[in-house]
């Protein structure tokens, strides 16, 4: 019984990471990417892959994992089904990307949030000044006219396809600085890929672009230490964090799931899981 509660708690905290604070800019549109990163060159099939979303505001953008949103949808569907009998089945989709990026180009601001055990850690990053070479090649992605551009960044040569059909100047991850929206990008070895998965306007919801609430400000070194610690002993780290008070942010799941109604939780893993070894990080050099 206790195990179930811990699992549920883990779920709730896992899903609560991409809440966006209310006092930020309104999200006007969003673009979805399928992100693939071959983190272990010895096991090409066990790559890191997840669906990402870039929320676009007037001056800023927020790039984050969409997998959790999907999972939340799936859970909500199960709980709301008339035949829900207390047994939850959770199917893993993708590997989940803990990093999110908040970019405000006009202020040369780039911030990373890292989600770990239900906490969001905030780290200031150096704003990348990318030197893009715009090429003559064009192609159509998702119905939009895109033009090719190239740059070298953190040890990789990136090829990006951007469009000026959409009035935003942004892109996935740290790739930005082109006079349009980057719909697709990949490094020259195709080890890091951001594949276009759809664009939509956000018209009604009060969704905003910004750093999630209740983030813990830290620095890169401290965060790296923490990540290492957790990966060495996840159970202990989780226990520690829950004893330390943990996060108090409300989860969207709280409103839909009454823990007393859940009899069992079974988790089915994604068919292909990510290799635990990363010998090929995205950033090959500082």
């Amino acid at each position: 019984m206790k195990r179930k509660y811990i699992l549920l708690l883990a779920l709730i905290v896992f899903l609560s990471q991409n809440l966006i604070a209310q006092d930020n800019e309104i999200a006007l549109a969003k673009i979805h990417y399928n992100f693939v990163h071959i983190n272990d060159t010895t096991q090409l099939d066990k790559n890191h892959h997840s669906e990402m979303v870039l929320y676009l505001g007037q001056h800023s953008s927020f790039y984050t994992d969409y997998t959790n949103k999907r999972m939340e949808e799936a859970l909500r569907k199960q709980v709301e089904s008339p035949s829900f009998d207390g047994s939850l089945t959770i199917t893993g989709i993708g590997s989940g990307t803990p990093e999110s990026y908040y970019t405000v180009p006009a202020r040369n601001l780039l911030q990373q949030t890292y989600s770990l055990n239900g906490e969001n850690y905030l780290v200031d990053e150096e704003f990348p000044e990318l030197n893009w070479k715009v090429g003559q090649e064009t192609k159509i992605i998702g119905g939009y006219n895109c033009q090719r551009a190239e740059t070298h960044f953190k040890g990789r040569d990136y090829i990006a396809w951007f469009t000026t059909d959409i009035p935003f100047q942004a892109g996935p991850w740290k790739l930005q600085g082109l006079p349009g929206l980057i719909l697709e990008a990949a490094d020259s070895k195709n080890e890091v890929q951001f594949k276009y998965a759809g664009f939509d306007k956000i018209e009604t919801s009060g969704l905003t672009v910004g750093i999630p609430e209740n983030t813990i400000k830290t620095n890169k070194k401290a965060l790296t230490n923490l990540i290492e610690a957790v990966s060495k002993n996840p159970a202990a780290a989780m226990k520690a964090s829950s004893q330390g008070g943990g996060s108090s942010s409300a989860s969207p799941l709280d409103s839909i799931i009454d823990p007393s109604k859940i009899k069992s939780i079974s988790i089915t893993k994604d068919a292909v899981s990510k290799s635990p070894i990363t010998n090929n990080p995205i950033e090959l050099e500082d």
Binding site: R70, S83, Q147, T164, P167, G198
Partner: protein, 876 residues
């Protein structure tokens, strides 16, 4: 030399780059405020970005332009959300640009959404957002499904996904309509539906999920929240010329607890309202089938139907479902045909001209109770069918005039019980019980007596009466135990099958003096048939990584006995049948797989293959048997490859299929101009067929178009015994089926589809001489539709269908049908007005040519002529 040339080339490039110049400028509002962080680009005549910059905090910028393009052709573009977009031509010689920016509220209405994140692939579920595929002219969800990439809908509303039939259609998770789902898709308005989900590897039984492998595909319609709240309905009323009517009244309610879909319809415009096809009986009123046209072109009807489908979900998980269907119809069909049958030394020809009046009445009731829980599954379905049909016709065959009357009745009852509990150790028991009774008494009366030479020793007589019925009782019970743990999932099944049948038939010739005689003093059939089976089956499933396989070996002990005292027939036979099947699926990627199927079947004939007394199955066919029970051994092999890239909306499938069959009997046809006699004779017969097929479907984002292409090539080898000649035949057919649906300019869309088939029938050679000449036939059937929507509430559709049949030695048969359909929506009144003009060219007869192994058939049918119907649709 080459190096020097290259060097010169490099120099010249360097030279041209060296010829660059700079322009500078500043962005200001009319109040003098600097506009910082605007995106400034120089675009070339091809609208490509040449150079770009962002304005600094003072609104200033400097751009360095290479002098590769003439300055006068360049455009300066300034983008900044919150300001009006600026386009300004660059002028040669002017190097300084002061630009006035105008503030404006953020407005994304100009940004066109060309590719929403519509398809979300969550594991085995694929989801289509309906709004992004729907068009103004669409009404029912069926109209939208037709347009979805990967989907295919036939005329009866049956849906295929990637070439595979769907197993269930759910409405918010509930299967309201079972196999009659086409009724729902044609009725449910598309704007009630939020998403359409394709559930692949679908397992409808919750207790079996993640325990057994399934290759089923199902569809779930996710109903919009706002549409769940209230009862909705539509009233449709159509009136037209000449003397046409078409009406419908429906009510829809889909909420979590209660779902209903009730429809009342009536028309005489050629719309077929029957939802099931009738079982074929032993007797029929003619030898000619239906023409290869949409039924509404040749169906002279006057039909009324009522369908009531209701479903309730109780808190404890019980789901009750009631489906009631009724149909009353009067229809007419007129045709004439000429059939040529070729044998080695002569050609037999007969003609047939008939005018049939059918009066069917069909009704069926389905009652279903179900618990679908994680721990067990219980389902009981009771089905009752009653139908009655009287057909009367006047028939002229080879100058013999006659009147026919065929009475057909179907009564059937069936109950199916399924119980699947899960044990504490996670193993599963599967209990199934099926009990059914059915009978179809038929009477065929022909007046006056025909074929006196064969039937009545040459003496003319008054009438023929043929009666036949086969009451059938069928009982099947099986129990299976499934082990869900371990690397190989095992399931063991045992069961019994009992089949009791009795074939009764009387063939009577009524003489002018009122007495009745039988055919060649033959006896009537009173054949008892009894088939009992005991079977055990082991089934093994294995899944590791990308590989899935299922293997099963049923072993059947079968005893068949049949007797008919008047023919001194009393036989029984015991057989041991082993019929293994194997299915392997290998995932070659997350979205593509290879599948292989093998099936061996060992079939024995049925009661219709052993009756001895002659039955007149239609006015010119006399059937009897003179062989023991037929045995058939069949190997079926399938290899398929399925490929999808949902994010690019690309779907492909390809496959090969090989079937080889060996039968112990062959049908022998003795045919003369006026009658054909069919007897089943003991002679080994091999049939081999081979088929290759493939399909591709792609949504082209830039055009907003779906393009499809399907092709197949098939080869069949078989024998026919015809007037005591054994004729080996090869049939070869090739089919090509392209289709396209596209938006031409904003308001005009076009769809095109065509099916081209080439069929050749070759008889094999004996001593290098062809026994019969090859016969070839080509068919081309093209449909094109143009839709024009000048306003949001108005649309016009013109459609045409062209059919061409080519056969060497005969005249080409060419048809073109044109229809017009216009509709207008009055949003305020929640009313649609529709005008349908059909068959503009007023084609009233339709001729077809078809060939099979040794025959060619020419038929001509009467069609409904030009028609106009004005229809009002009220959304209640």
């Amino acid at each position: 030399m080459r190096i020097i040339l290259l060097f010169i080339l490099f120099l010249s490039i360097e030279y041209s780059y060296a010829q660059e110049y700079s322009i500078a400028g500043a962005l200001k509002t009319k109040d003098g405020e600097a506009v910082s962080f605007a995106s400034i680009l120089i675009k070339d005549p091809e609208n490509k970005v040449l150079v770009f910059k962002t304005s600094d905090s003072n609104g200033a910028f400097t751009l360095t332009i290479p002098k590769t393009t003439e300055a006068n052709k360049l455009v300066l573009e300034i983008n900044h959300l919150g300001y009006k977009k600026i386009h300004q031509d660059i002028k040669e010689g002017i190097l300084d640009y002061e630009i006035l920016m105008e503030k404006q509220a953020i407005d994304l209405s100009e940004v066109e959404i060309k590719s929403k994140p519509i398809i979300r692939s969550i594991g085995d579920t694929l989801s289509y957002n309906i709004d992004s595929f729907a068009k103004n002219e669409d009404r029912s969800i069926n109209d939208v499904i037709k347009r979805l990439p990967g989907m295919e809908v036939n005329e009866n509303g049956k849906i295929k996904f990637n070439g595979q039939d769907i197993s269930n259609l759910y409405i918010d998770g509930d299967d309201l309509l079972d196999e009659k789902y086409a009724l729902g898709t044609k009725t449910i308005p598309y704007n009630m539906v939020k998403d359409l989900e394709v559930l692949q590897n679908h397992q409808p039984l919750k207790v079996l999920r993640n325990k057994t492998l399934s290759d089923k595909v199902a569809i779930n319609l996710v109903i919009k929240e706002e549409a769940k709240l209230k009862l909705s309905g539509q009233a449709k009323l159509g009136l037209g010329l000449p003397k046409q009517y078409d009406g419908e009244l429906n009510s829809i309610l889909f909420n979590k607890k209660y779902k209903m879909l009730n429809i009342l319809k009536g028309n005489n415009i050629g719309k077929d309202l029957s939802s099931d096809s009738q079982p074929a009986g032993l007797l029929s009123s003619g030898t000619v089938g239906n023409p290869g046209l949409a039924k509404n072109r040749y169906y002279f009807n006057n039909s009324v139907s009522a369908n009531a489908n209701n479903l309730i979900n109780y808190k404890n998980g019980l789901q009750l479902k009631v489906g009631i269907n009724m149909l009353l119809d009067k229809n007419e069909m007129k045709y004439n045909s000429i059939t040529n049958l070729y044998s080695t030394n002569d050609t037999i020809q007969y003609s047939e001209e008939q005018n049939i009046n059918n009066h069917p009445f069909l009704t069926d009731i389905n009652l279903n109770a179900q618990f679908n829980k994680e721990k067990y599954y219980f389902n009981n379905t009771l089905k009752l069918i009653y139908s009655k049909e009287t057909s009367s016709s006047s028939l002229l065959s080879n100058e013999a005039n006659m009147n026919q009357r065929l009475k057909n009745q179907v009564q059937s009852f069936s109950n199916e019980l399924e119980y699947v509990p899960e044990f504490k150790n996670k193993n599963i028991l599967h209990f199934n019980w099926h009990l059914s009774y059915s009978n179809q008494p038929q009477t065929l009366s022909i007046r006056p007596g025909i074929n006196a030479a064969i039937f009545n020793e040459g003496i003319p007589f008054e009438a023929i009466n043929q009666f036949a019925e086969t009451p059938t009782l069928d009982n099947r019970v099986s129990i299976a135990y499934q082990l869900t743990k371990g690397r190989i999932k095992q399931s063991y099944q045992a069961g019994i099958v009992n089949e009791f049948q009795n074939l009764n038939s009387q063939l009577r010739f009524k003489q002018f003096d009122g007495s009745e005689t039988s055919y060649q003093s033959d006896h009537d059939n009173d054949l008892n048939w009894n088939r009992n089976q005991f079977f055990v089956n082991g089934s093994y499933e294995y899944k590791k990584g990308a590989l899935e396989s299922v293997f099963s070996v049923p072993v059947i002990l079968q005893r068949i006995s049949y007797d008919d005292k008047s023919f001194n027939l009393d036989k029984s036979e015991t057989q041991l049948l082993i019929t293994p099947t194997l299915r392997i699926k290998y995932l070659t990627g997350s979205e593509n797989y290879l599948s292989f199927n093998y099936k061996f079947s060992n079939e024995t004939g049925n009661i219709n293959n052993v009756f001895r007394g002659a039955i007149l199955s239609n006015y010119r066919s006399l059937q009897a048997n003179d062989a023991d029970l037929q045995k058939q051994y069949k190997h079926n092999l399938n290899l398929d490859y399925n490929f999808r890239r949902s994010i690019n909306m690309l779907f492909m499938n390809a496959g090969v299929n090989y079937v080889t069959t060996k039968s112990t009997t062959i049908t022998s046809n003795i045919i003369s101009n006026n009658i054909s006699q069919t007897i089943l004779l003991p002679l080994i017969n091999h049939v081999n067929s081979f088929n290759i097929h493939g399909g591709i479907s792609k949504y082209i984002f830039s055009l907003g178009a779906t393009a499809d292409l399907k092709a197949s090539w098939g080869y069949t080898h078989f024998n026919q015994l015809f007037n005591n000649d054994l004729l080996p035949f090869n049939n070869i057919s090739f089919m090509l089926n392209p289709s396209l649906e596209a938006r031409l300019i904003n308001r005009i869309s076009i769809n095109y589809s065509s099916i081209a088939t080439w069929t050749t029938s070759k008889s094999e050679t004996k001593n290098n001489i062809a026994i019969l000449p090859d016969r070839q036939i080509q068919n081309l059937d093209q449909s094109i539709g143009l839709t024009y929507a000048p306003y949001k509430n108005t649309f016009l559709r013109v459609s045409g269908r062209h059919q061409l049949t080519k056969q060497p030695g005969t005249k080409n048969v060419n048809y073109f049908f044109a229809d017009v359909n216009a509709s207008y929506k009055i949003a305020k009144w929640r009313t649609d007005i529709e005008l349908n003009l059909t068959n503009l060219a007023n084609i009233t007869s339709y001729e077809t040519q078809s060939i099979s192994a040794n025959s060619s058939v020419y038929s001509s049918y009467q069609l409904r002529g030009r028609m106009a119907v004005l229809k009002f649709i009220f959304n209640l």
